[in-house]
Structures are given as C-alpha cells and as structure tokens.
C-alpha cells in the first residue's frame, strides 16, 4: 500500500475518532449534570397529539396556571385539564368563530373536536416531566411555600411546546431543600 496515504490517513482517522469520543463524552457529562444539550433532537419537548400552545393561553389570553392545572396547590399532581374544560372556550359552535383565526389553529382545534368522538375520549398527552416511580413528588407544599412554577418549569408562558428546562434529579431537589430548611430525610421522597 502507498505509505504516504497511510501516513495521512492515520492522523485523520485518529482525529475524527477523538472528536467523536469528545462529543459523546461532552454529551454524556452535560446530560448527567444537567439536561441533555439541545442537539440531535435531545432536550426538545415531546410532540403532543394536539399542538397546544401555552404562549397563546398564558401570555396572550392571560390565563392563570391554576385555571387549568387545578389541584397544583392542594395535591400531589397538578393534573392536565379535561377536554370539557377546553370546550369551555373552544365550544363546537366557536370553532371557526371568534377564537381561532389562523389556519394551523383551525386544524389543531378541529383535531380537538374530532378526537372526542362519542363517547368522549380523553386526549393522550405525552408526559414532559416524569420522575421515576420510586420518587414521591408533591406539588402542594412547594406552591404553599410560595415557590413559583417557573422555578422548576421555566417560563412556560413563552413555550410553544413544553420542554423540560430543569433536570430535577435528586441533587437538585435536595440542594434546594437544604437551602430552605425543608426535610432531607430519605423517606420524604422515597417510600
């Protein structure tokens, strides 16, 4: 074989292998310490069956989070609103009335109505935030202590698609608990 080609090929191959390893290493380390970096579709929110924009409802329509996530200040789960609650504003008759103007909006809202069918079916939203099953997270005490939603979820009102902005791994939870005098006993979160 031509020795000059080999001489060039070895450093080139070596460099690209190194680059790939460095990239994978950087990816794994940053995913471990915080969230996966926003490359190759990681760090994006999941696609939802209906493109529900928090921007329109929170920033434009000015709705309070608790209007939809009703039990957030009293219970474990914040809960996702039932379809009936969407229809409060997006009623059958209003679908092409005053609320929805743009074409994409019409399409998405048509899905909302079509999805319902008879008998009424709930929408299968995809989870964005999900702790492992062995962790018992409760919203209520956090909200009652005056921690705002954006501390953990970021500026939802500016998100077209909800995505996870804070990693909320055990270190993250416990660091804040320590700083605020909240319990750090294992059985606070694991039982």
């Amino acid at each position: 074989m031509n020795s000059r080609v080999v001489k060039i090929a070895i450093p080139v191959v070596g460099a690209s292998v190194l680059l790939v390893v460095a990239f994978v290493g950087w990816f794994v380390i940053s995913a471990w310490w915080s969230n996966p970096p926003p490359v190759l579709g990681f760090g994006e929110g999941p696609e939802q069956p209906i493109a529900f924009p928090h921007t329109v409802h929170v920033s434009d329509a000015g709705l309070d989070c608790q209007f939809c996530h009703r039990t957030v200040s009293t219970d474990e789960a914040a809960t996702i609103p039932a379809v009936a609650q969407c229809l409060f504003c997006h009623g059958f008759d209003k679908i092409d009335g005053r609320l929805s103007t743009s074409e994409t909006a019409q399409e998405e809202l048509a899905k909302l109505i079509a999805d319902l069918g008879e008998p009424q079916q709930p929408i299968n939203w995809n989870r964005v935030y999900r702790l492992p099953d062995h962790v018992q997270f409760v919203h209520a005490p956090h909200i009652q202590q005056g921690i705002s939603c954006s501390t953990c979820h970021g500026e939802i009102g500016e998100m077209q698609v909800v995505k996870q902005v804070r990693n909320l791994k055990m270190r993250d939870c416990v660091d804040c608990h320590r700083d605020n005098g909240a319990p750090t006993d294992c059985s606070t979160c694991h039982y």
Binding site: Q136, P183, D185, C186, S187, T188, Y191
Partner: protein, 238 residues
C-alpha cells in the same frame, strides 16, 4: 395561631407507635388484607407460602394453648416492630435502611441492592424479600395505590406504618389530631384491637395504653426496643 405552617425544624417531631390489644384480637385477618391492598403487595400464591416466600407486612401468628378438648387459640398480629435499636439497620452495607427522627425504621427501596442481611438479622421475621417480579391480574392493575412505590424483584420490603398516610397527614407541618391518622391495619380492625398514634403526645390513646398494666413487648430481652406494644391479660387458669 399566627401562622398555619411551620418549617420542619420548628415542628415537634412525633414518635409513631402502635399498641395491639391481644384480648380484643379475634384473628380475623382483616388487617392482613387491608395492608395487602394499601401497600401494593402482590397476591401470594399458595406455593409461596410453602416456600416461605410469601409477602405479608402484617401476619397473624396462631398458637394453640392446652390440649384438646381444653384448647385455646391465641392470635398475635406481627408486623415490623420499628425497633428503636433495630438489628436490621447496622448490617445493611449500603445504608438502605435507617432510623429516621420520627422513630420509623425506613427502607429505601431504590437504594436496596438485595443482600438480605437485614432480613436474616430480624428476630421477628418482619422483613420480606421480593423473590419474583410482582404481578397482578389485569383487572386489579388499576387499583394499585399511587402513593406507594411498587417494589421490583430483588429488594427487601416491610411494614412502613403506612408512611404514605403519615406524610399526607403531616405535610405542611399541621399537627395531627389523635386517632385521625390510621395505618390501613388499624383502620380496618373490627374490634379496634390496634391503636396507632404519637407517643410523644402525653394525652394520646397510644401513650396511655402502652403503659397499661397488661403491656409487654415481643422478644424484649433481645434489647431491640420495639415501638409496638402488646396487651394481654395473663391467664392464671391456663
């Protein structure tokens, strides 16, 4: 009261204890079933009992006293005694079991690696190992308690004094009224043989009963200092 919530440091730490009045126990097994449902315990097949691998966080020990026909059946509900000097705790190599400030012997399932040392060191045989992946019939899957972790194969588990109920009741630092907080076994007992409460509260029923003259604790001579007290009239006639 000026403020309703207190920070965790200001809270008066409770000490959860139980009293079981054996003179009231009829051995009906309601507590066993209630516990099974509350705590996502898989259904034990008959073979599991034969292999001594059945999982029951509370079980009824039955004893026969005397010879037929002068025979008496004695029952003793046995659960994790939440020992203050627990033999299971120091033997765990990964600190998956420890004592918390409320006097509970806590098992952190996700920390457990399944050495089973704790179970071997428990004189009450109150710790149970998941030899199999837990399974439920399809139509029972939706009745699982969302407040309780489903334990996977390979981890140790045991009675928690229904810590999920304790957490729910004490969240936000509210004081719990005596008798308002009940583990599933206590709640289901038809004769109210089981009493649960905060032993740091001098007026609590549990504090009064544990000093009843009939009191004893199981295998107290081992120095385990259990948090469960039993009451039994000593039967002079045998």
């Amino acid at each position: 009261m000026a403020t309703k919530t207190k920070s965790s440091a200001q809270r008066d730490t409770p000490k959860w204890e139980m009293v079981i009045d054996l003179d009231r126990c009829t051995g009906c097994q309601a507590c066993v079933i209630a516990c099974q449902a509350e705590n996502n315990i898989p259904i034990n097949e008959e073979s599991a009992f034969h292999e001594h691998r059945a999982i029951q966080w509370i079980r009824i020990e039955r004893y026969w006293e005397g010879e037929f026909p002068d025979v008496k059946a004695r029952f003793l509900p046995l659960l994790c005694q939440q020992c203050d000097n627990a033999p299971c705790e120091p033997v765990c190599p990964v600190y998956a079991t420890y004592h918390n400030e409320e006097g509970l012997n806590v098992q952190v399932y996700n920390r457990c690696v399944g050495t089973r040392y704790c179970g071997n060191n428990c004189p009450y045989h109150a710790r149970l190992f998941n030899y199999w992946e837990p399974v439920w019939p399809e139509d029972l899957r939706n009745q699982l308690n969302p407040d309780v972790t489903v334990r996977t194969r390979g981890v140790m588990e045991k009675c928690t004094f229904c810590i999920q109920r304790i957490r729910r009741a004490t969240r936000g630092g509210e004081a719990v009224e005596d008798g308002a907080l009940q583990p599933a076994c206590v709640q289901s007992c038809p004769t109210s043989a089981l009493v649960f409460g905060n032993a740091n509260d001098p007026d609590a029923k549990v504090t009064r009963l544990k000093n009843d003259e009939r009191h004893f604790r199981v295998m107290e001579h081992l120095g385990t200092d259990p948090s469960v007290t039993y009451l039994k009239q000593v039967d002079v006639d045998g």
